[in-house]
Every structure is written in C-alpha cells, then in structure tokens.
C-alpha cells in the first residue's frame, strides 16, 4: 500500500457514503449537501487519474455551479425543512431489486472482461496544453456545437424560468 492507495480509499469512501446519503436521506436539503461532497470526491479521483484540468473543471462547474444551482432550486420552493423526497414502498422494493441486479451484472462484467491495459505507471504531465490543442484541432466541431448548446440552454432557462404573470418586456 502506497500513500496514493489510502487517498483512493478515502475518496472512494467519501463518494460512496455521500451517494448513500443522497439516495437514502429523507430531507432533500441534506441530500443536496451530500451531493456537493460527492462531486468534490470525484474531483479528487480525477487528480489520481492524472487529469488535472478535469479536476479543476469538476470543482468549478459541479461544486461551484451545479450544486449551488440545485440548492437554489430547493430554497426557492417553499417549506424546505418539511420537503421530503416522497417515496412509496413498492417503488423502493422494485427499484432496489433492479438496482442490485444491475450492480451484480456490472460487477460480473468488470471482473470477467480482459481489459487491454497498455500502461499502469504514467508520468504526470500537465494536460491543459494537450486539451487545448485537441479542442482547436480534431475536436473543433463538437467544441463549437457545445458553445451553441450552452447559449441555447442559457436563453431557454431564462425564458422558461420567467414569471408568466408579469409579461410584456
């Protein structure tokens, strides 16, 4: 066991424990905060995988953006402390059984497939330059499409979220 192994175990425990809180806590505000810490742990996993740019992006977009957006969504609906997640027991049983079956199938696949591993030791090199070159080279079309998608989502969210009763801009 090298120190990085302990880091991996701590991060994995954080992610899975916070994921369990997200799914099983009955108060939605606690779920939202657990989701924030789960995103944080995923950012740490990216660092272990030598993806430094992604770790930064994860912190900025997920922890700083999406989590806060979800918290705003909860706070803008009334009665936060009584806002429960409202489950029914049939859903719990059927959903739980399906999920467990899926987890079993995924585990069987993971351990029975012969992965074509090409490298286990990789020198850390900063990836931002490579990513920038790829975005301006082979990946320019999806990059521009993503820009258009973000613009469409921004305008769409503003128009949908507007209060209809106060019309006429």
């Amino acid at each position: 066991m090298v120190p990085a192994d302990f880091v991996f175990l701590i991060l994995a425990t954080l992610i899975v424990a916070c994921g369990f809180v997200v799914v099983f806590h009955s108060k939605i505000i606690y779920s939202a905060f657990a989701l924030l810490f789960s995103f944080f742990g995923v950012g740490g996993i990216y660092i272990l995988l030598n993806a430094d740019f992604l770790a930064g992006t994860q912190l900025i977009v997920y922890v700083g953006g999406i989590s806060v957006l979800i918290l705003f969504g909860i706070l803008l609906t009334k009665k936060i402390y009584n806002l429960t997640t409202e489950e029914t027991s049939t859903q719990k049983i059927i959903g739980g059984a399906t999920s467990l079956a899926f987890l079993g199938a995924l585990a069987a696949l993971i351990f029975n497939t012969d992965w074509q591993i090409v490298t286990t030791t990789q020198e850390f090199t900063p990836q931002t330059l490579e990513i920038g070159k790829a975005f301006m080279g082979n990946f320019i079309l999806p990059f521009e499409l993503a820009a258009i998608l973000l613009l469409v989502a921004l305008i769409g969210a503003v128009i949908i979220g507007r209060d209809e009763k106060k019309e006429e801009i």
Partner: protein, 103 residues
C-alpha cells in the same frame, strides 16, 4: 495497488451509477431525480477518464468528459427552470402530481 489499476475505478463508478439509478427509481421529488441523474453522469465521467488513463493512454476520454460536464451544466439549468415553473403552476414538485398533459 488500488490507484494504478483499472478495476477499482470501474467498481467505484458502478456503485455510483447504481446509486444514481436507485435515486431515479425511488424518488418522486423532481429535484431528487435530477440529483440521481447527476450521480449517473459523474459515474460515466469516472469511467471515461479511467479508460483513457489505462487503456488508451491519451486524452480523448478526458475530452468526452468535458463535453459530459457541459451537457450536465446546461441540463441542470434547464431542468431547474422547468421545476421552478412547475412549482409555480401546481404548487408542488412531486412528479406524480404533474398530470396536466395526461389525456
């Protein structure tokens, strides 16, 4: 050696994926379902980055992950706008009560 072999990352992402799936299956609250979707997307991202680190030894998995993050951000923004609108209409964010489109 956990951190430099592929399987631990795949197991972690499988657990995260199943947790997200469970949230989508069992919750009736629209924001909780959105949180389940985010967990599933994060699990997929971990898989992409792990494969690009161990199997491909390049960066195309990371590029796909950046696009997933972009999609997740725009999806969360639009979904929360829809949920706020739904709340103003029916005064609840329980997806079972959104029945206006039912024939």
């Amino acid at each position: 050696m956990f951190y430099n072999s592929l399987e631990p990352y795949l197991v972690l992402s499988a657990i995260l994926f199943v947790l997200g799936l469970l949230a989508m299956f069992t919750k009736r609250n629209a924001i909780s379902i959105l949180m389940g979707v985010e967990l599933v997307l994060n699990a997929a991202c971990i898989n992409f980055v792990a494969f690009s680190r161990f199997v491909e030894n390049g960066i195309s998995g990371q590029l796909v992950t950046i696009f997933i993050i972009i999609l997740a951000a725009s999806e969360a923004a639009v979904a929360l706008a829809i949920i706020l609108h739904l709340y103003r209409h029916i005064n609840s964010i329980n997806v079972d009560e959104a029945t206006q489109l039912e024939g």
